[in-house]
């Protein structure tokens, strides 16, 4: 157990370090933020001064050492674009993405588990076929397109929901729906297939032979066993969303989250902000991964955390 935590933490550190180093190297080696940051008509002197201010004129190894030192203190410096500490911006945007993810994936879970179970009860039946086809369709529609479609239908045609932005609870509905739909589709498929697997296991027969009511056998015995793959997928979806996959939805709906900020930072070559965002995303991924391991242990007592 202790060994497990210790090893996971070390691994997490390696991940975070690896990610930030890659970002550091990639951005330093190829990009030139000075050009993009200053207006077109700036003079070469202005450019040189700006470069010096950012410390971009020093050799890359020295920049890197300084960068590592700053990272250890969680201080990435001021965003080139917004002129304030990059971590402030991240901490401001991250909750929005977490909120969007939580609502989107929460909605997917709430719908997917009953749908998947119902489909699994009679594989090949009408309900199952409709569910499976619907899921395949949900998996196939590109998210950005779906988002646009939602905007046209719900916001512009019926005017019942706002088109974009954040603020009131109604603002989150369309982005969350767009975010959750592919997750819902994947989840339904997974719940269905793992429930089919579980329902064919011997212990389910035992439970029926014990005379337990159907609902208990399916909803408690089988579902808890199917919980591991389901949790894995849910965790994976959360990770995906925090690891950048929310970009598309956030862009379409102008949702002020970390993904949109990332894209904006990339467009503006804001190295500092990019580094801060990627670092945070890596930390999130690592933390969720470790949390998932503990949740697995709760679901399945057979797992040993080593």
């Amino acid at each position: 157990m202790g060994r497990f935590i210790y090893r996971r933490l070390i691994h997490g550190l390696i991940v975070i370090l690896g990610v930030t180093v890659i970002v550091f190297v990639v951005t330093r080696m190829v990009g030139d933020p000075v050009q993009v940051m200053l207006p077109l008509e700036s003079t070469p002197e202005q450019r040189a001064a700006f470069e010096k201010k950012l410390g971009l004129d020093r050799p890359i190894p020295i920049q890197f050492l300084e960068f590592m030192g700053n990272m250890a203190r969680l201080d990435f410096g001021d965003s080139l674009w917004q002129k304030r500490p990059a971590m402030d911006i991240v901490f401001e945007k991250l909750p929005m993405t977490i909120l969007l993810t939580a609502v989107g994936i929460g909605f997917a879970c709430v719908l997917a588990i009953p749908l998947g179970i119902i489909a699994a009860l009679r594989p090949g039946g009408a309900v199952d076929r409709v569910t499976v086809f619907g899921s395949l369709l949900g998996l196939s529609v590109p998210q950005f397109w779906l988002g646009l479609l939602f905007i046209v239908v719900f916001a512009v045609q019926f005017k019942i929901l706002p088109t974009s932005g954040a603020g009131t609870p109604s603002h989150i509905l369309l982005p969350a729906l767009t975010m959750g739909l592919p997750t819902l589709a994947r989840l339904v498929m997974l719940v269905r297939s793992s429930m089919i697997d579980e329902l064919n296991r011997q212990y389910v027969k035992t439970s029926f032979a014990k005379g337990l009511p159907f609902v208990r056998v399916v909803g408690l015995h089988a579902l808890r066993n199917a919980g591991l793959p389901i949790m894995t997928l849910v965790g994976w979806e959360v990770i995906r969303s925090l690891a950048g996959y929310s970009v598309v939805v956030e862009t379409v709906f102008a949702w002020p989250g970390i993904g949109l900020t990332a894209i904006q930072a990339i467009e503006r070559e804001d190295l500092i902000l990019i580094q801060a965002i990627v670092f945070t995303a890596a930390v999130c991924v690592v933390v969720i991964n470790i949390a998932m391991d503990f949740i697995y242990k709760l679901i399945d007592p057979r797992l040993k955390l080593t």
């Binding site: 691994h11 997490g12 390696i14 991940v15 690896g18 990610v19 890659i22 970002v23 990639v26 951005t27 080696m29 190829v30 990009g31 594989p123 090949g124 499976v132 086809f133 395949l136 369709l137 998996l139 196939s140 529609v141 590109p142 998210q143 950005f144 397109w145 646009l148 479609l149 046209v152 512009v156 064919n200 995906r240 925090l242 690891a243 950048g244 996959y245 970009v247 598309v248 862009t251 990332a262 894209i263 990339i266 467009e267 070559e269 990019i274 965002i277 990627v278 995303a281 890596a282 999130c284 991924v285 690592v286 991964n289």
Partner: protein, 333 residues
């Protein structure tokens, strides 16, 4: 199964030479039974043909602009013409031709990424699974580490920095996606390695290449195929999303995602600009998914059995009805 009526093994072998054709036929029959799968296969085939022969099918050059015929609607509108069946975009380019050529990019990127990532992943997985020990530990650590990377973010940054192009998109997506194959191959190799028939091969003195290629790989093909096809669908969507964000395929090349991004600004007056490439993506991915789920079905003997049982049960009910009807007829006549 009727045993071959022959006396010697060689004769029997000769007689069974065309057995594989029977299994192809069997596959065809099963496909006929699975309507969604059939639709998927037909769609995919036509998409591939369309992509291959795009220059001959497309009525116009996809990049040819005509500023005087901008934003022309599809043919069924009053202003539409047969010249531009699905209308034109904001530069007067033919939407139909662009969509046809867009298939090339999507399928090419999908195939290239699946081949690169799959090839690399399978090799890594085989090495990890078969060599074991430190190699295994190293490769698995590597995979674990890379899986925990915020993949898309990194991909976006790398694309933005290196400059997006067809090649970079393929490379970045492949770098981002090979781990699945690695993990699956490794676990399959490990489980197949444990199987008695591999032990039997080792006991009779097979060297490792033979075990790998004669015993392990053939049993990996169907799960790998299914995974590859599913990944293909995922990659097509990913390419579209990257292009939509402006970090994928760059103009003047055409891509469905790019077309949606460009048409998005005009979506309230020219819905076809967004809808047609969007539908093209959806239909392609759906077709791939249909094929994948059919493949998964037929490669899973248990699921195959159940599918069959349902089919039988349905047929039986029909037959019974027919028999009942037959019995009734003499009574009425």
């Amino acid at each position: 199964m009727t045993p071959p009526r022959t006396d010697t093994l060689e004769q029997a072998l000769a007689e069974n030479r065309f057995e594989w054709w029977n299994s192809v036929c069997e596959l065809g029959r099963e496909l006929k039974r699975d309507k969604p799968g059939l639709i998927g296969v037909i769609l995919i085939t036509s998409l591939v043909l369309m992509a291959v022969f795009a220059p001959y099918i497309a009525p116009h050059d996809p990049a040819a602009q005509d500023l005087t015929a901008r934003l022309a609607p599809p043919v069924w509108y009053d202003k539409g013409t047969w010249d531009h069946m699905l209308g034109t975009d904001h530069l007067g380019r033919d939407v139909l031709s662009r969509s046809i050529h867009g298939a090339r990019v999507s399928l090419w990127v999908g195939a290239a990424v699946v081949l690169c990532a799959g090839g690399f992943g399978v090799v890594m997985g085989l090495m990890a699974g078969y060599l074991g020990g430190r190699t295994d530990a190293f490769i698995m650590r590597w995979i674990d580490t890379q899986v925990a990377f915020p993949g898309l973010l990194l991909a976006l940054i790398i694309l933005a920095v290196i400059g997006p192009s067809l090649t970079t998109v393929v490379v970045v997506l492949a770098l981002n996606g090979w781990m699945v194959y690695g993990r699956m191959t490794r676990s399959a190799v490990l489980s197949i390695r444990q199987s008695p028939y591999v032990e039997a091969a080792e006991v009779v003195g097979c060297r490792w290449p033979r075990i790998l290629f004669r015993h392990i790989l053939p049993n990996l093909t169907s799960p790998l195929l299914t995974l590859g096809i599913l990944e293909f669908a995922r990659i097509v969507l990913a390419e579209a999303a990257l292009s939509f964000l402006g970090l994928g395929i760059q103009p003047p090349a055409t891509s469905w995602g790019l077309d949606v991004a460009m048409g998005k600004n005009y979506m309230f007056m020219a819905w076809w600009l967004v809808t047609i490439p969007g539908c093209a993506i959806a239909v392609t991915v759906l077709a791939i998914n249909l094929v994948a789920s059919w493949l998964r079905l037929i490669s899973d003997p248990q699921e195959r059995e159940k599918q069959f049982a349902r089919h039988m049960a349905k047929g039986m009910r029909k037959n019974m009805q027919a028999e009942i009807d037959k019995e009734r007829q003499p009574e009425t006549s």
